[in-house]
C-alpha cells in the first residue's frame, strides 16, 4: 500500500461516495462489492486505511452484519499475508456519534497496523501494549460459545 495522494478536494466532499482512484485499494467482496477499501487521505501513521460502505449509510446508525464481516475479513487477511514472515496485526476502530471524534457521516471503519504504532518507540521504555489487549480475559458473548 504505497499509493500517493495527488488530489485535493473541498472539505465537504464525501471521500467515500466515489473514492479517488489514487486512494481506492479495492472494492470488496470482488464478486458483489458492498464496501470499498480506501487509503486515508490524512493518515496518522503509514498504511492507515479505511473500509467504507459503497452506498451511503450513516456513521451514526448501528453497524450491520456485513460491515462486521468485512472488518473481520480485513483483520484476518492482514495477519495471514504470506509475503511477510513476521507476525502482524491490525487495530480497527469505529467512531460513532457527536462525542466520538467522528469526522465523516458516511459509514466507515478505520484500520491501523499495530506494528506501525509501535514504530519509533524508545527501546529504553517498557514495551507498549495496545489497551484492547490488556482488557481482562472473559468468556465470549452470547451464543457464540462453542
Amino acid at each position: 500500500m504505497n499509493k500517493k495522494d495527488g488530489q485535493t478536494g473541498t472539505k465537504t466532499k464525501n471521500p467515500f461516495e466515489d473514492p479517488d482512484d489514487l486512494l481506492l485499494v479495492a472494492k470488496i467482496p470482488s464478486n458483489q462489492p458492498t464496501h470499498s477499501l480506501v487509503l486515508n487521505k490524512y493518515p496518522i501513521i503509514p498504511q492507515h486505511f479505511i473500509l467504507a460502505t459503497q452506498t451511503f449509510k450513516e456513521q451514526t446508525h448501528l453497524l450491520e452484519d456485513d460491515d462486521l464481516h468485512m472488518v473481520y475479513a480485513c483483520l484476518k487477511a492482514w495477519e495471514h499475508d504470506g509475503q511477510t514472515s513476521s507476525h502482524r496485526r491490525l487495530f480497527a476502530f469505529f467512531n460513532s456519534g457527536l462525542h466520538s471524534g467522528a469526522s465523516q457521516r458516511h459509514r466507515h471503519v478505520q484500520f491501523l497496523p499495530i506494528e506501525q504504532m509501535l514504530d519509533g518507540q524508545d527501546s529504553q521504555q517498557a514495551a507498549w501494549i495496545p489497551l484492547i489487549d490488556l482488557m481482562d480475559e472473559g468468556p465470549s458473548e452470547g451464543k457464540c460459545l462453542n
Binding site: 496518522i44 476502530f93 462525542h99 484492547i132 489487549d133 465470549s140 458473548e141
Partner: protein, 149 residues
C-alpha cells in the same frame, strides 16, 4: 502503582472463525451495555430530532482485533488542557483542546502540537483528568471492564 481506567468500557472475546451473525451479536451486546451505562449515569442527552430505528442512541468508540471487540461510550469529544505561562516573554495562552477518538481503545491519543505532547507526558494527572471527562464514570456500571494499567 496501578490505576484503573477512569471511563466505562466493555469488551468481549471473539471466538476463532466467527460467523457474521456472531460478530453482530457480540457488537449489539456491547452496545447495549454501553447504552445502559450512559442511562445509569443519567448522561443521555435528549435528541433534538427524530431518532429512527437504526440510529444509535449514544456516541461511542468501537475497536476490533481478531481476538477482541471493545466499546467505550462517549460523553465528550475532548477537553481543554490548561496552559501555564512559561517564560516571562511568552504570553499566557488559552489551553488547547485535545480530542480523542477510537484510537483511545488502543491506548493512544493524538495531539496537535508539541506543547500538548509535553504537557501530557510530564503530568500523568492531566491525562487521567482528560480521560475522566470523555466517557461515563466506570462505577456506574457493574459490567464495566476493569482494565488495570
Amino acid at each position: 502503582m496501578t490505576a484503573q481506567l477512569p471511563f466505562a468500557h466493555f469488551h468481549a472475546k471473539i471466538p476463532p472463525d466467527p460467523i457474521p451473525s456472531c460478530l453482530h451479536e457480540i457488537y449489539l451486546s456491547l452496545y447495549d451495555k454501553a447504552k445502559a451505562s450512559v442511562h445509569a449515569a443519567s448522561l443521555l442527552q435528549s435528541n433534538q430530532g427524530f431518532l429512527d430505528h437504526f440510529a444509535a442512541e449514544i456516541s461511542y468508540n468501537l475497536a476490533i482485533t481478531t481476538s477482541t471487540m471493545a466499546i467505550c461510550p462517549r460523553t465528550s469529544e475532548g477537553s481543554t488542557l490548561s496552559r501555564e505561562t512559561i517564560g516571562k516573554n511568552e504570553q499566557s495562552c488559552q489551553g488547547s483542546i485535545v480530542a480523542l477518538n477510537g484510537t483511545l481503545l488502543s491506548g493512544t491519543l493524538m495531539v496537535k502540537n508539541e506543547n500538548d505532547w509535553n504537557e501530557l507526558r510530564c503530568d500523568e494527572g492531566k491525562l487521567y483528568n482528560l480521560l475522566k471527562l470523555i466517557g461515563v464514570p466506570p462505577n456506574h456500571s457493574e459490567h464495566s471492564t476493569k482494565t488495570t494499567l
